[in-house]
Subunit: 769 residues, 2 copies
Amino acid sequence: MKNYIKHNEWQIIEEGFDPHLNKISESIFSLGNGRMGQRANFEETYTGETLQGNYVAGVYYPDKTRVGWWKNGYPEYFAKILNATHWIGLTITINDEVLDLNTCKVLNFSRVLDMQQGTLTRKFIVELSNGNVLGVEAIRFCSIVDDEAGVIKYTITPQNFDGKITVESSLDGDVKNQDSNYDEKFWNEISAKQVGDCALLNLETKKTAFWVSSAIYTAIYQNEKDLGLKSSFISKEKYVAQQFTVDVKKDQSTTIYKFAVNLSSENYKKEDLETTTIATLKRVKAKGFNQMLAEQAKAWAVKWQNGDVIIEGDVAAQQAIRFNIFQLHQTYTGEDARLNIGPKGFTGEKYGGSTYWDTEAYCLPFYLATAPQQVAENLLIYRYKHLEKAIENAEKLGFKDGAALYPMVTINGEECHNEWEITFEEIHRNGAIAFAIFNYIRYTAEQKYLAEYGLEVLIGIARFWAQRINWSIEKEKYVMLGVTGPNEYENNVNNNWYTSTIATWCLKYTIEAIGLVKADDAKKLEQILTKTKFDTEKETSHWKDIIEKMFYPIDEKLGVFLQQDGYLDKEQILVKDLPTVDRPLNQKWSWDRILRSCFIKQADVLQGIYFFEEDYDLTTIQRNYDFYESRTVHESSLSPCVHAIIAAKLGDLDRAYEFYLRTSRLDLDDYNNDTEDGLHITSMAGTWLSVVEGFGGMRVKNNQLHLHPVLPEKWKSYAFKIGFRHTIITVKVTTEKVSLTNESEHELNLNVFGKEAHLSANGTLEINS
Amino acid sequence: MKNYIKHNEWQIIEEGFDPHLNKISESIFSLGNGRMGQRANFEETYTGETLQGNYVAGVYYPDKTRVGWWKNGYPEYFAKILNATHWIGLTITINDEVLDLNTCKVLNFSRVLDMQQGTLTRKFIVELSNGNVLGVEAIRFCSIVDDEAGVIKYTITPQNFDGKITVESSLDGDVKNQDSNYDEKFWNEISAKQVGDCALLNLETKKTAFWVSSAIYTAIYQNEKDLGLKSSFISKEKYVAQQFTVDVKKDQSTTIYKFAVNLSSENYKKEDLETTTIATLKRVKAKGFNQMLAEQAKAWAVKWQNGDVIIEGDVAAQQAIRFNIFQLHQTYTGEDARLNIGPKGFTGEKYGGSTYWDTEAYCLPFYLATAPQQVAENLLIYRYKHLEKAIENAEKLGFKDGAALYPMVTINGEECHNEWEITFEEIHRNGAIAFAIFNYIRYTAEQKYLAEYGLEVLIGIARFWAQRINWSIEKEKYVMLGVTGPNEYENNVNNNWYTSTIATWCLKYTIEAIGLVKADDAKKLEQILTKTKFDTEKETSHWKDIIEKMFYPIDEKLGVFLQQDGYLDKEQILVKDLPTVDRPLNQKWSWDRILRSCFIKQADVLQGIYFFEEDYDLTTIQRNYDFYESRTVHESSLSPCVHAIIAAKLGDLDRAYEFYLRTSRLDLDDYNNDTEDGLHITSMAGTWLSVVEGFGGMRVKNNQLHLHPVLPEKWKSYAFKIGFRHTIITVKVTTEKVSLTNESEHELNLNVFGKEAHLSANGTLEINS
């Protein structure tokens, strides 16, 4: 854990330059706009430790699988988001010395991520080895208005010298993924050329043949006037640059404006790509830096207007929740149903792929409440588009007749992961995908989604469960063998309570969904049943038999659901009794020791209780929470938020606050010592959940919005805004009262603290806490 | 499965050349002498498909571990037996055309492995593209008398031409392991030089710095006379050769004699190595080919004299058992306690390492009965020497206080394997190592081994089990969680019956062994207890508690021991009902499907019953055999032999014979389609067991040799010879009677068909079957 980020309500601030923290900061200060993104690398040369990263959404490479011991069924390839053209490069040479913070004396340094307007600013003063002292102020952003464009304003002010500065403004495509399995580079050059006053680099990915065309325009200003310098064009293999030389004087600022665009063949015909790239670049440079910045700030203001969480009295908590929300918006905008939310977003390479069950289990609720409905719907449609591949995926594992198993990790619908205990056995992901459909409809009341898309997916998933479950002659019950639950500190277990519970829920919900579609549109149902070759009588009666006779491990004496068969055979030790030197277990213990211990990475019984809360009374929840929380080491970033929500529900506000802080400042404070690899984007949605569902007690039950807000002791107040169906509601919670403001033209009947309440159109309502 | 090897009692014969079978034949016709060995590659150039392999015992390379997903505790390196200098090479150029069976027309071809004298002979007639037709007869062997030497006699006879032949006789060290993790070569050159009429190549392994020095001497004969040709010396990086040019005439034979030696720094000081190499070469070439061959034949005759199994009336079975015995002797001679029996011997690279539990579980009994006692003892001492590393290995996994976990795969005592479910969990290997000590003493009555070596190993192993087992508050029994049994088609299971059974047996036997050593030599015991810091009272009372309260899964209704917790939750299908297209499962089914099925790779309950047969009555054995055999797919080469032995014991001779054939002709008939990777050396000991313990019913019980011979219907008779304590007994079984011949000066009281019998010194005894 670290503590070098300054606390501030709207800004992430680093002061002073510590090269050992640089890779962490590169992650934390990352920029993105849903279409492209990058780590907070320096524009100028930096020969110190850095992880260079630029990413273009949807552009991937199928890297040949690498394993120690091949298991039948492993996928041939792992689809990786590619490290793409590095477009920010500005090689600055001052009187023949290259500016490089690794080699010069850094007198002063700050880095600020401004979340209000979505910009990254660096200011520093350095002394070169030739004695030249200069100040630099660099500001850049990835535009969320022109989402193929990024722009840099880089100002250099000599402090003690006159002289000559050379600027090489580049597009460098000779880049590599650090996690390349066979140390290969993944790009080939299509073209590298000068087009008027722009430089263009068009690259193609190997195997997948995506084209990404980038172009830059660079201008040099002094005294706020364009010097009109003509650049020299430099070109090397997968590299183009524009070079300028300019005379500078002591105390006189020289500003470099660099406009860059990155366009992908995912969105344009290849034959038009280069022309469109130049046209796009010309359009944005015509706007100019100031207008682009103004538009950026305005667009971010709208995002904050709709989705801010305001915490009074706790700057660390305020900064953290905004950071989480900011990074989620930078990662995914929901405009393109082919895209999804990678666990590291545009902030690192680790894990590869772009879609895990995190999307459905953690991210969907965030976007449901804070973004237009289409955003959440696009997340669901993404999986609908992959249904065919999910059926193929299941076939590879021996399933048949339209059973669908969604991959553990994917970009294009194909499985990318290759660890048998996860790839083949962590099948609960299928349940989360079904639950997301239910959750979307529960929240939006858009039942028509079932007929349009949802039911087909549900049928595929339900068929998978029905085939995956078998009858035990021993137990005289249906059982599910050989699975890995969300708690990945158990592998290949039998009758994992969570997986079995969500499996039978899927069967129930699919039967229900068939009924709903039938009631809405019997003809459409017939079409779906024909398309899926569904034998209603035979299949649903088998499902009903499973629902009736499924085995769930339970300990009657303790009154808890058992994580899996045999869980109580383990030596029962509590986390509080674990020596500190043994933590984190995943770094200190060998894998087998973790597996046979009772310790839990993230509690999957509690995950199930969180999903299906209405099925359990409070004392049951309390017993399971007490039992599992005391055995959970939270070594998954996805763990604390669910515990926070349940703790808040149970009135354990201190623990809920502790979990909140842990999840919300996970990356800012580098809790797990892994922020340098990239941010934990998907768990950031969990942070939001822990505020809104945790402290705010927000639920949708019986077709109605429910709130049950509580205020952590450390906070003076907090407020969040949610869009619910046709209304937009701000909920503000203070020690005295809960204030609800309806910004819409629609009235809303809701439930606060268990009581019916009415919120009129544009009305407000105050309820004593 | 294939069927191209001709059946013959003493020879393995291939007739006709099929390039697609070449890699299989290269394995089958392998040569070795315990010190070095090689695949049956061609001497002359071959540009077709081949797996070149030459190996020197004990010389390994720690290849950096390669995994998909790193798990804590994995070893950094995998020790691999190295592909070493290729010393057989003879590049033959005939009138400017290189002899290469891949490019010329093969008119006639045969390959014969003569097991009686340990030689490999090839004869072929080919037509070159220039129309030259020539015959070749090549005979070679690795001397078991001069075990650092190999020799080749290569005779060429032009059939339709006169002309010029160039011979390049080489040592090629520029070789690579096909299974190199990072595609590296593992050798560096120390020197490459001409020494008189010899050529020498001395190489060093990277990292481990073993030196292997090879030298050759080549002579060309015509009309049985040395032409006295002087060679040209050729030298390249890691390559030396002697080149000759000779005139040949139609129908006149030219013979090349090549003598080669390979010496390793494991056996000589590095500074003396090259000199000793040349001296050794001179010594063997002075003997000459004919004398070496005569000595070889004589030495093999002794081996056969002591360990042959003779089967009358079934050539396929006769050939097969001899092939198995032959390859075992080629692999391991037991003269060096640093060496062991790799699963592929000197016949391939696959699996790497050299020692698996196979050694103790399958190979030890073979060497006990057919080789001098020192051989088996050396196998045990090998593990004694690794005790310290086994303790370190256990410490890495969190065990303490002298608990020892022997590696799954090793050369030098360190773990090499990296698959968590095997490396960390297939811990039953520890039990086999303890059982081997018991087995050795049971067979030899050499109880002093305990005090000298055995007890320390037993204490380390017992301590491991005592720590690995935990108390279950649920079961109120001791349990063992998270293991993989010998049946590797189950991973990470709880309470594997076999592992739990052998674990508590180890505790019992260690307590017994402490008592035995105390009775023999109380002072020595004190030394051992002090050295191991053994707290007799505390540790043994804990062990006794475990022995008393251990949980073993049993199904009372079926009357069978259960392979593990939950085995009966699986869908119970029998192998006979599996569609043929699904076989073998390990090629047709994804790994998870195999895991959750009831199908068994090798039945570990039966393995336990085999080890501890005396603890179970016949009906128990029958019930378990019936239950597990019907669920076993025998996809491990180690599986059929145990089933053969139990089937024979239960009187199911047809099945026993079927299992015998399957295990004995596994490689000859390429049953599993993997012979090209190398032979299944360790399972060959199982073949021997299935004859001697299976059909012969040989056991040692109550300090006495027991026999219960039965004759498979297809056989006229069979006979085997065993050394038991101070006697050497030949057992011959016909339909009418069992004849016992004692070739020693010691009388023997034994038990045949359950009745006491007496065999006088040098006496014979006949008992009606």
